[in-house]
Symmetry: C2
Subunit: 309 residues, 2 copies
C-alpha cells in the first residue's frame, strides 16, 4: 500500500451562494463536505487510480468523526488516523455563483499534545513496513515541532521506504536536510526555499540541499524535474482552463503512482501532468476527470532539459 500522512487534517466544506456580499446574510444553495488536508486529497486520487492507500495523521471531536465517516465511504482508502483530544478543524470555501470565485475560511485546528505526537510517531513506525512509498503532506498543526518532517523522513529512510515531502516554509527547509527521495514544491515554495526565481537553478539548488529528486510544479508550464537520472520538462498539450484547487495534490498522486509502478521518470511525469490537468478540468474542485486524464496521458510532452542552470 501507499501511506499518506496529513498532520493537519480538515473537514472541507464548500458552500455555493448566489453572490458573496460582505456584511449581508446569505442562503447557501449547496453544501458539499469531504475529507481535507493535502495527504487525504492525494489518497483519494491514488485510490481512484486503483492503488491501496492508508491515511494517517490526527482526528478528533465531532468534525473528526464526520471526516472519518467520509473516509469510510471512500473505496480503497484505509483509515489509520490517530485520535486526539481536540477537534479536527473545518475549512469553509464559499463559491460565488456569479463569478465562480472562492473565499476561503480556515479554522486554526487543535493543538497537538506532546503525548499525541509521540502516539502518532509510534503509529507511523508500525505502518511503514507495509508501505511501498510514503507521502508527507501539508502544514504542521500547532504543538507539532517544526522539525517533525525531518524526523519522519529519517524514520522512513531507516525503514527503506521511499519518501515524498510536500510542504513549505521552515518545515520544508528542515525536512529537506533529512534527505527525502522526492520533494514537489510549487514555484513560490521553491523560490522561498532557495531564494532563486529561476526554476532550473532553483531545482538544482534544492537537490544540493538534500532532496534526491526535485519536481517543481510551475502551474500552466507543467513540471520541471531534476533527478540523479536526468532533468526533464513535462507540459500539458494545451492550456487547460478550470479550477486549479487540488491540481498539486493530483501531481503528487501521479508521482507516487508512477514510483510504485516502477515507471521511468518521463512516464511518471506524464502521469502527474495529465492527472493535474484533468483535475483543473473537473467540475468538482479537487476531483479529476477520468476521461480527460486518459485522453491527456498520451499527449503530454516530456523533453529532456539540456540547458545549464
Amino acid at each position: 500500500m501507499i501511506l499518506t500522512v496529513t498532520l493537519n487534517t480538515a473537514l472541507d466544506i464548500t458552500y455555493r451562494v448566489r453572490s458573496l456580499t460582505p456584511h449581508a446574510s446569505h442562503r447557501v444553495s449547496d453544501v458539499v463536505e469531504r475529507p481535507g488536508g493535502k495527504g487525504l486529497n492525494v489518497a483519494r486520487v491514488l485510490a481512484a487510480l486503483g492503488h491501496e492507500v492508508t491515511v494517517t495523521g490526527f482526528t478528533g471531536g465531532a468534525t473528526g468523526g464526520q471526516l472519518q465517516e467520509h473516509l469510510t465511504a471512500t473505496p480503497g482508502v484505509r483509515d489509520a488516523l490517530v485520535p486526539v483530544a481536540g477537534s479536527t478543524r473545518r475549512t469553509v470555501a464559499v463559491v460565488d455563483g456569479r463569478t465562480g470565485d472562492t473565499t476561503q475560511l480556515n479554522e486554526p485546528g487543535p493543538v497537538i499534545a506532546p503525548a499525541e505526537w509521540i502516539a502518532f510517531q509510534e503509529a507511523y513506525e508500525d505502518l511503514l513496513p507495509s508501505a511501498a512509498a510514503v507521502a508527507l503532506c501539508g502544514s504542521l498543526p500547532p504543538g507539532v515541532p517544526v522539525g517533525a518532517y525531518a524526523l519522519l523522513v529519517r524514520t522512513a529512510r531507516a525503514a527503506g521506504v521511499p519518501v515524498l515531502l510536500d510542504t513549505s516554509g521552515e518545515p520544508l527547509r528542515r525536512g529537506i536536510a533529512a534527505r527525502p527521495d522526492l520533494i514537489k514544491p510549487n514555484a513560490d515554495e521553491l523560490a522561498e526555499l532557495t531564494g532563486s526565481h529561476e526554476p532550473l537553478r532553483a531545482v538544482q539548488d534544492a537537490r544540493r540541499r538534500g532532496a534526491r529528486t526535485v519536481v517543481a510544479s510551475l502551474g500552466t508550464e507543467g513540471l520541471l524535474a531534476a533527478s540523479p537520472e536526468g532533468r526533464w520538462r513535462a507540459v500539458p498539450p494545451a492550456r487547460v482552463h478550470g479550477n486549479p484547487t487540488g491540481a498539486g495534490d493530483s501531481a503528487v498522486a501521479g508521482l507516487l503512482s508512477g514510483l510504485v509502478d516502477h515507471l521511468p521518470w518521463p512516464d511518471r511525469l506524464a502521469r502527474a501532468v495529465a492527472l493535474s490537468a484533468a483535475t483543473v478540468l473537473a467540475p468538482v474542485a479537487g476531483e479529476f476527470d477520468r476521461a480527460a486524464y486518459e485522453e491527456l496521458l498520451g499527449r503530454v510532452a516530456v523533453v529532456t532539459e539540456t540547458s545549464a542552470a
Copy 2:
C-alpha cells in the same frame, strides 16, 4: 417548565477574521459554536433566569449531535429534540475584526419527511401537559407544512397551555388565525402581516386577526403592546449600543418569564425590554449581560398608550 419549539434548529458557528475580503483566503482566529435557532436562544436566556426549560424541534446527523452536546452542557435546559434522518443545518457568522460587521451564511437544512413531522406532533402533545407556557419560534424547515404553527397553536390551546408565536411571513399569517395568546413581531414582520407601517394601527389590526396580545419589538424604540387589558409602550432608559443579534429572542424570553411568574403586563414588558437591551450590550452575540439587566430593569419606562390608532 417552559417549552420552546424550534423546528429549524441549527449549529451556530461564529468565526472571527482580521478582515473579510471576498475571494481571499482567511485564517480564522477564533471559533465559537452554540445551539442555534430562535427557540434554543430563548431557552438559553430562560434557563439563565432560573426557569426550567424543555426544548423540542428536530435534530439529525453529526451537526445535530454537536448541537445536542452543547445543550447537555447548558444547565436548566432539557433536550427533547426529535431525531430525523437528515443533518441539522449549520449557520456560519463571519465577524470582521476591523469593522465588527457580520457576514452570515445559512445552510438550507434537511427536508423533514411526513413521518418525522408526525413523530414531532406526538412528542409535542406528550410534552404539553407539563408545560406552563409554550413558545413556537422561527422559520419552518422544508417539508413541514406552511400551516404547521396553526396546528401547534390549536393543540396548545386545547391543552390549556398559553402559547407564544414568534415567526414571520405566511407561517405567521396562518398561525395567527388559530388565536395564539401572544405574538412578538418586529416592525418589518408586523408591517408584512398587516400592510400598515404605523405600529399602533398595526398591533390593533394584528389583534383583530386573532392574536390575544401583540407585543411589537421596535428596535431602539422598545416594545409596543396591545392586549385585552390595555396598551403600553416600554422603552429602555437610554439608547444602547452593541450587537442586536438575539435581542428579539431575549424579549421573547422576558415575556414568557413574566407570564409564568404571573406578573402584570407593565412588569412583563419591563423585563423583556431590560433583557433585550442587556443582550445588545453583551460582548458575546446572543448572550445577555446580567449586571446590565438588573441595573436596567428598574429604569425601563412603561407608559400607557392612550392615543387612538
